[in-house]
Symmetry: C2
Subunit: 414 residues, 2 copies
């Protein structure tokens, strides 16, 4: 295999996580060490959009200490995007532009951190470069709290969100039980198609402080059945905690906000604020005479670096590092993933999954990990998720508050 | 001073906090050590209600190790209540019953942990016992995330909630800035009359990652002015974070849900679910064409023991311990409070505040700590609050999740 010399660019895409910056640190630190192979390491502002707009930073000019802080800084330090590239056969404008930028900056390594849409982007870019005779190695770094990427045991970002959700749910459980009166609490958790995160509330139940009912998008949602479930438990115990994935929907594809009442639209045509939990809580309040509280974990669940999983931080870093090492060794068109090692002690090894496979698939909670009634998860889920959250990430504090990385973000000279 | 021999009872009242159980541990452990003075230590189930119903636990039968865990277990382990005693001159039913129970169990020490309503309860109970010739010492232990108790520098519960709010706000700040598009985020924070907690978001701003605007109940709320503030900053920067205390209201006393639209009422006459932030976000969405997200910190902010302040945990314990030591030494009818020591290093000493004074007052954020425009706090607030959150509480974990105290709760024999 020939050594490919040139520059590297890295971008972050899609919704941020508590550990996407740990992957960034893994890519950047490792790429900066590839002396004689990789010269400049660029960080794209807002992912692929930053490359198209020729706005990216020279990561070699960052203070190494700040790159250390980056490992425990949540959200997306370089900025993210939700930009989807067109099919190059229909519209190759963006691809022409990318090729132009890659050539201009002699970019020979492209690392992209995101979910399946981002892996699709990677794959399209790589194919285009290859078809146009521009040698370039493209590697995907997985990222998603949704944990829905194909081919990997789990995704960086998931464990930290799951750890926060399980912890906060345990705390809310205690809080919602202090009074000698009835109470129903509806928790809303992220996840449009995959219920991995909503299922993480079961870790709280496993410890004795969690929801009675969990509804995932993997199971067709039946509102009447849910009201029945809640009413039954309420009559038995006077306290119910329900965890609902934001993505639950009827077999006809109707989400909770569409299912209950008329979705409001504002003056600009935006759909109504307010999530599934608030709407469900109102709906339940019309049917069960008790105090009902809706809690939406919202952004808190995906950026809670203060409660991140140490394993998640390490693995996110490892995924970035591995992507660079593999690319330098000649690999291209793969996403780094994890395979869980057999045995009772938790361990993983990195694997490579073709970008194309990841782009076109979705990894959902297996139906057999969900109970027959479709309102809770089985022990298989606990056995899967619990090892991922077993250790705390240690974050640096100043005045008792997190010390986030302060990047210089020196623009690459054109 | 004569030694008063007998039994003690302790109760928790009002909304729970991350550290109310630390005060419980302080009272219980200290009371259990008063050999020859205090015999039995009872824990009332659901505060004063548990005493009235003669449902309380024999705390001497708890495992001392579990009492250690109690220090970092959030919420109210014995159960809380919002029961308000009548004026004894109008209706002395409850007082007669309390006297009966106190006599039956030879209760000579009553420790009550709560806010100003609870101190009012303490005061009334103490007066009644005195008037009826029953010797009993009554001490209040302060508790409230709202931080609104008179006479004390701050209240146990506040610092932990403030620490969580500041931390989560910093994380949300980063998360709400990842895209290259406009975004307005509305944070809703607890506090009906006092803005101490909403102001804690300013600690995040002090670190460079906080709201642009903070609205407290201490300043008359003007909706039009707020929309102006938000629009102005949005035009300048494209990103706005607004922190709103749930208690903000117009000079006429109208809260946000009443101010905007028609408050919905369900089939049972309950007022509509959904807080100020969601309603405000909708209102702003009708006026500013951008993505707007509402985040209600909800119960998460008051029970987040995983992000508690070590100082808060220690001081909450100290307040409970001091209440017992003072009572045994002859003190009655006081609440324990804190006075901050002068000097640059943080320190406090415990003080005693007459129950009657606490019962009838409210400690608000001083107007001069709020800026002239009424939409942010000044450096005085930062100087006040920052030292309180400077250290993390260390909690025991099992499988990476909090290990809460498991009390035996052996019912006192009648």
């Amino acid at each position: 295999m020939s050594v490919l010399r040139g520059n590297a660019i890295f971008g972050q895409s899609g919704g941020p996580t508590a550990v996407i910056n740990a992957s960034a640190a893994g890519v950047i630190e490792t790429a900066l060490r590839q002396t004689g192979i990789i010269d400049k390491v660029y960080g794209a502002a807002h992912g692929i959009v930053g490359i198209l707009n020729e706005v990216f930073y020279d990561m070699g000019q960052e203070d190494p200490q700040e790159l250390l802080y980056l490992r425990t800084t949540p959200s997306s330090a370089l900025g993210s995007c939700r930009y989807k590239l067109a099919d190059p056969k229909k519209d190759d404008t963006d691809y022409l532009r990318l090729l132009e930028v890659f050539k201009k900056y002699n970019i020979r390594y492209f690392f992209y951190n995101g979910g399946n849409d981002s892996m699709d982007t990677c794959s399209k870019v790589s194919n285009y470069m290859r078809e146009h005779g521009y040698e370039c190695r493209v590697m995907g770094v997985p990222k998603t709290i949704d944990n829905d990427l194909y081919g990997t045991d789990h995704c960086p970002g998931f464990a930290s969100a799951a750890k926060y959700i399980a912890t906060a749910t345990m705390e809310v459980y205690l809080d919602s039980r202090v009074y000698d009166t009835g109470m129903i609490t509806v928790l809303e958790i992220m996840g449009r198609n995959a219920g991995w995160l909503a299922a993480a509330t079961a870790l709280a139940s496993y410890k004795g402080y969690g929801p009675d009912l969990i509804y995932l998008p993997e199971v067709p949602f039946d509102l009447d059945r849910m009201v029945e479930d809640v009413s039954r438990i309420y009559k038995q115990t006077g306290k119910v905690i329900v965890a609902v994935s934001e993505g639950v929907r009827t077999p006809a594809g109707r989400y909770i906000p569409e299912l209950i009442g008329t979705p409001k639209v504002d003056a600009f045509g935006h759909k109504q604020m307010g999530g599934a939990a608030a709407i469900l809580a109102e709906y339940l309040a019309d049917r069960i005479d008790t105090k009902i509280r809706a809690i939406e974990f919202s952004l808190l669940q995906r950026c809670a670096a203060h409660c991140a999983s140490a394993i998640d931080v390490e693995e996110a870093y490892l995924a970035g590092k591995t992507a660079v090492e593999e690319a330098v060794s000649g690999t291209t068109d793969y996403m780094v993933g994890f395979e869980r090692l057999p045995g009772s002690e938790y361990g993983i090894k990195t694997i490579l999954i073709p970008l194309q496979d990841v782009a076109n698939a979705e990894h959902l909670v297996p139906r057999e990990w969900i109970n027959a009634e479709g309102n809770f998860v089985n022990q298989e889920y606990i056995d899967y998720a619990l090892p991922l959250i077993s250790e705390e990430s240690v974050t640096v504090k100043e005045d008792g508050l997190p010390r986030f990385a302060r990047l210089r973000k020196v623009l690459a000279t054109r």
